[in-house]
């Protein structure tokens, strides 16, 4: 009998864990948005009554909006605004049925533009909408800005450590590795790691950077952040908004799909840099960059700031951040965004 009770308790506990979902609030919505064959997973969290929305485009390719839906920065921003976490086509929990030829930046831009139209239809034409792109989401955001009429729907653009030109990104990553690496070696800090990176980047042929080189730079970029004392890592700032059991993206099929789309979208993004077209962006723009971002170095932020056509623009560096200042310095990050939005909402 004791054994039966034990088994029953285990089954009930298991069912409770499995059935528990993220705390829903009155201002929480999750839906699929169908566009051109894809079903895009969308989560809307935060203060809908504010009528100010931030449409957040995740990094990757192969990332998800869900990964951004949590942590201190999202708590602060959701108190003031509604945040729309969108899983781009082929990414995260987005599904649907389409061909590989539909997995492009151009199509992603059409999706983002269509979603902004949808948000205005659903939440009212009077909402103030801001577009935020992080990392690879940066090139989706700049692509949609320069290739569609989305600027008519937006109050502003926020780019956070976003890449607009992959070739330039590789060169700047090498440059930053050399600068910071030499300084770290001189400080006698993590010498083994930095010396290995310095030796490797010095032999990369900058006129012919291979795919293997790109992978190395990207991988070491994330590793380097862990080695630097200068980067802040707040302990209570996990961005995991879901448990292992109730995450909408926790499955082997999604994981393998996301790694599959990574190559396709990466190649398309490489072939379609947007930096030379940023002059077309006329809406207010804000560029937020981690000083120690080796994945998308600060030089790309400076370049984007210089090339953007907006007369109202701002560039901010985070002295203690790497590729994700929203995680490293959440208070300063949110203060900057709140300041920017308050000027243009």
């Amino acid at each position: 009998m004791k054994k039966i009770n034990l088994y029953l308790s285990m089954v009930i506990m298991g069912l409770l864990i499995v059935s528990c979902t993220k705390q829903e609030t009155a201002t929480y919505a999750r839906f699929m948005f169908r566009n051109d064959g894809a079903d895009l997973a969308v989560e809307v969290n935060g203060n809908l009554a504010s009528k100010t929305f931030i449409l957040l485009l995740h990094g990757g390719p192969g990332g998800s909006g869900t990964a951004y839906n949590g942590g201190r920065y999202s708590e602060i921003l959701e108190e003031k605004y509604a945040i729309v976490y969108m899983d781009q086509r082929g990414n995260g929990a987005s599904q649907g049925s389409y061909s590989e030829s539909d997995l492009t930046l151009t199509q992603n831009s059409k999706d983002v533009y269509a979603l902004t139209k949808f948000l205005k239809l659903k939440y009212g034409d009077d909402i103030s909408l801001f577009l935020l792109g992080h990392s690879w989401g940066g090139i989706t955001s700049s692509h949609v800005l320069v290739n569609t009429a989305i600027q008519e729907e937006l109050k502003g653009w926020i780019e956070v450590d976003g890449v607009n030109d992959f070739a330039q990104n590789n060169l700047e990553a090498i440059r930053l590795f050399k600068t910071v690496g030499e300084a770290q070696v001189a400080k006698n800090h993590e010498v083994g790691f930095w010396q290995e990176v310095l030796d490797s980047v010095k032999v990369i042929d900058t006129l012919n950077i291979t795919f293997a080189d790109e992978l190395y730079l990207n991988q070491k970029g994330f590793e380097a952040e862990q080695k630097l004392k200068e980067i802040e890592r707040p302990e209570d700032n996990s961005t995991a908004g879901y448990s292992f059991f109730n995450s909408p993206i926790n499955s082997l099929s999604i994981l393998t799909n996301n790694s599959l789309v990574n190559g396709v979208l990466n190649n398309d993004s490489k072939e379609n840099p947007t930096s030379e077209f940023l002059y077309k962006v006329k809406i207010p723009a804000q560029f937020l960059w981690g000083k120690y971002d080796f994945v998308v170095p600060p030089a790309l932020g400076i370049d984007a700031f210089n090339k953007v056509g907006s007369s109202n623009k701002k560039l901010v560096f985070f002295e203690h951040s790497g590729h994700s200042p929203m995680i490293n310095e959440p208070e300063k990050f949110t203060n900057e965004i709140i300041g920017f939005i308050s000027l243009y909402e």
Binding site: L15, V18, S19, T21, K22, R30, F31, M32, F33, R34, N35, A38, D39, A41, G90, A93, S94, Q95, G96, S97, Y98, S99, E100, D102, L103, A114, K117, F118, L121, K122, Y242, F244, F245, N246, S247, P248, I249, N250, S251, L252, S253, T256, N257, L260, V261
Partner: protein, 203 residues
């Protein structure tokens, strides 16, 4: 190449079916506790039909064991199966699936320990748990019964035990991981599931 393989498979099973031994009813039904990726809970119901069953008996090497336990008897079974099922993926979709397959099993007849594997092909429909919308003529349209689906191929090795041999309880219990390849978005991806399967074999 696919046609040659199919012709070979059919002729192989046809040949084996007509050389089948008589070992009771070939029908069985099953009930499984199913977990997509082991963590998304579901259920699965199935039917089995033994196409071929053969028993092989041989004496043990050691006389002492032979006297104590008798002959070593092993049963080999080739079977066909059909199944339907569903699972719930938290905050994403409900999965509905059906498949047909063929399998092979070997069982030791003294205690009923068994192992085997089956391959199957089927269809999985992912019925979204959330509302789905589209813009039609500049207005929001809610899409009813929205979801996406596609072909699933699966390979399932398993281990288990037939309790009917030691008691009169005609149930087989099997632990069965499913290794799947399924269509998703624009291509095929890997997936996995885990089943605890109870099989009732008709007498």
């Amino acid at each position: 190449m696919k046609k040659i393989f199919l012709v070979f498979l059919i002729s192989h099973y046809y040949h084996l079916a007509f050389s089948q031994n008589e070992v009771g009813s070939p029908f069985a039904v099953s009930f499984s506790i199913y977990g997509d990726n082991a963590i998304h809970p579901g259920l699965k119901l199935g039917g089995y039909y033994d196409l071929v069953t053969k028993e092989k008996s041989k004496e043990r090497k050691f006389t002492r064991f032979q006297e104590k336990k008798g002959n070593k008897v092993k049963r080999r079974t080739y079977y066909g199966k059909v199944s339907i099922g569903a699972y719930s993926f938290a905050n994403n979709h409900n999965g509905w699936f059906g498949n047909i397959g063929l399998g092979y099993e070997r069982m030791k007849m003294r205690k009923g320990w068994l192992y085997g594997a089956d391959i199957s092909v089927g269809y999985l429909y992912r019925d979204y748990k959330t509302d789905t919308y589209a813009i039609v003529d500049n207005e929001i349209e809610k899409i009813l019964f929205a979801g996406s689906g596609g072909i699933v191929y699966s390979f399932s090795p398993y281990v288990g035990r037939d309790f009917s041999l030691k008691s009169n309880f005609p149930i087989k219990l099997q632990l069965k991981p499913n290794l799947q390849v399924l269509s998703y978005s624009y291509g095929f991806v890997f997936n996995g599931a885990l089943e605890i399967e109870f099989i009732y074999h008709f007498k």
